[in-house]
Amino acid sequence: MEQTVIDGVPVFWAQGPAPMTATLTFGCGTRDETFRTIGITHLIEHLAMSTLPRVHHEHNASVGLEITQFFATGKPAQLVEFLDVVCRALADLPLDRIDKEAGVLAAEGGQVTHPTAATLLARRFGTSGYGLAPWIGPGYDRIPASAVAAHAARFFTKGNAVLTLTGPPPEGLRLPLPDGPRPFHEPQAPLPVAGPRWSAESVPCPGLGMRGPAVSAAWSLGMQVLQERLTTVARREKGLSYDVGAERADVDPVTAERMIWVDAREGRETEVAEILWDTARQLAAFGPDQDEIDHEVTAFAEAIEDPRLVDAELDLRARAELLGESFHTSQEWLAELKAVTPEQVAAVISEGLRTALLVVPEGGVLELSDRDGKRVAVGGCARAGAVPDGRVFRPPLFARMVNGSARRASLVLTADSVTLRDDDGDVHMVRFADVVGVEVHDGARTVFGRYGCLVPIDPDLFRGAGEAVVALEAAVDPALFYPRTDLIG
């Protein structure tokens, strides 16, 4: 792998099969957004790509949890032009196109990761950073142009970019990005939730999230084996599932969140969740068989013989440069995989299960035990134990007379919080200091909290709740308020 610098941007390249691929990577992903600016990175990517002239070669862009990439495959001159246009656009975004691109994005409906993985991240981190993944937020049309410009100026700079090429840098290549330092990504602490926990969520299929070391051949191999075993049991043996997927989020240079999900036939989601849990638990108890390890090592050894893999290796190099992740060449990684023992895999999965979050689609109920035989507790949003003392607002009398849910629900306002007791009796409290966004819709406000709860303050639902609206507006940063998006019907 070769290295150079062009216009202040580090460039890594290695010879791959033609045609050449160029990838401009920025150390900016959805984790760098806030609830108020959810989607801003994707909007910037669209604004930049919208300036491209009509081209015939393969090109695209993507936004991930930690990075954003602009990439193209074609003749050297085509790549030079692509990169030049993208860089110039990032330096001077066409902000007047925000409305149009917001509509395009709403139509695209893209997600940064699988919705089950996204929910697992939200339960791990709350409504910030990685935890924003499943949220729509205020909507692309509610992101202020000034915020777009500021976000681009902070993250889409020379200092936060790396170019990778599957061939030598083409003649005339320029990267006219604005100057700027590489931003520091504050490591994100998980919510203080003792695992393992399970919760029923708005997810399409069961999933499992575990925390562990970022760089660990045993972990990687263990997750591969887990995927393979789940495919064997849930798909081949029981016919309950079609696909098993996995994803990781590199929370910081030493910690990763690993997620795995198993889709399920309708009505069999709980059974699949139990299989997921039991399979992971067995792997933690006994580790993989040597045959399973050998299979994974062989598969990797064969994969890296493919010359197209050079692109993936370059991606890892770019990430290492931008995010401080450790970089291993394919051969180095192969050597590490070969050295993995069943005991090491068992140990890392076992440790991971201590932090496990398990989600099942809504309506599912799980009765599981951890590896020490202790019942796995219910997780989910950070419900409070009791309703605090404060001013209580109830649904109107007529509603309470005719509707059982209305009789059970109440809203409680205190000096520093607003609390919903919902019709299930669950208590959702949001302290004003923990508010991450407030949607304004006529006289109502929907308050989104840092720990995953949301509280509707609606005078139509709760008689006299206008008083709570006033208190909320007095206590919470006005910048967090936004009108309901026009992009969702």
Partner: protein
Amino acid sequence: MVRADLPSHVDPAWNDPELERAVRALCDGDPTPAFDLLAATREQPDRRELCVTILGQAGSAVLPLLRAAAEEQRDDVERLLLWGSALDAAAWQARGAAFAEHTTDEQFGQLVDLTKQARAVLRRAAKLAPDDAVPWSELMHGALGAPEHDDEGDEVFAQVGRRSPDLYGANYTRLQSLAAKWYGSHETMLEFARSRTADLPPGHPLLALIAVAHVEVHIHNLDNGNFFKRLWKGMTYLGKAPVRAEVDAASDRLLAGVDVFGGHPRWLAANQVFATFYHQLGDDMASKPSDTMRLARHLAYSGERPALWPWGYFGDHEEQFAKARNAVAGTGMGIG
């Protein structure tokens, strides 16, 4: 002489000083004596089965310790056996002792999930020690409470049969699985008890299967039908001539073999089963003086500590045991 204060979830109806020490050490957080004892029982399947079950009951309170120990040496059969047995015991404790209709979904859920863990651990032990019947015997518990599939009980019991067909615990569990309250009927259960005991030598503890089977029918009668039916059946079943004759015959056979089987690990437990039968018969309309005599003889071989079952069917097991002992105390047929 052993101390009488074992934890309440540990069945104390046995007399084995080494097991006593191992149980107490395990309860105090030291599993080493348990592992050593189990290693010493590899050629003693009856004792090994008892030890694994009892240590498993004790171990259910220290599951993290047993898990860690098993993870230290993943191919150590004794560690796996103890961990698996403890998970099994925890599963049944989570379920509770009530009949199925009084068991909550939550309790069943925990039973099923803990059984899955136990099954995986015990199967590994079975794989590592292919001649050992005890992993299979322990697997009987999961196959009873939360079977993986309909035939699991049959399959697992067949595995026991190939290795050590006369294991007391495995046969006791098998009989339970054939009872009407589980997956069988009175007829199937009684037939099993008769066929399993037909060729046993005098004194073999498995003769207790006959008494257990009739106690199970009695319990079923007490719990099913309208009030008067339950009352009448409850008062008369044990004293019916065929029942009495069958149990008396089994009792005679057991007592006749004390010289040979008096040291069997399950000798105390078997005698307590007969003692339960005859104690219950004492409340029956057809009770006879000879029943008291039999009760006294079986109690004499029952040791000092009451088994959790079948005494527990009729109330607190310690109270029932004490009542039975009191019933013979003034008769001149005293204990010992």
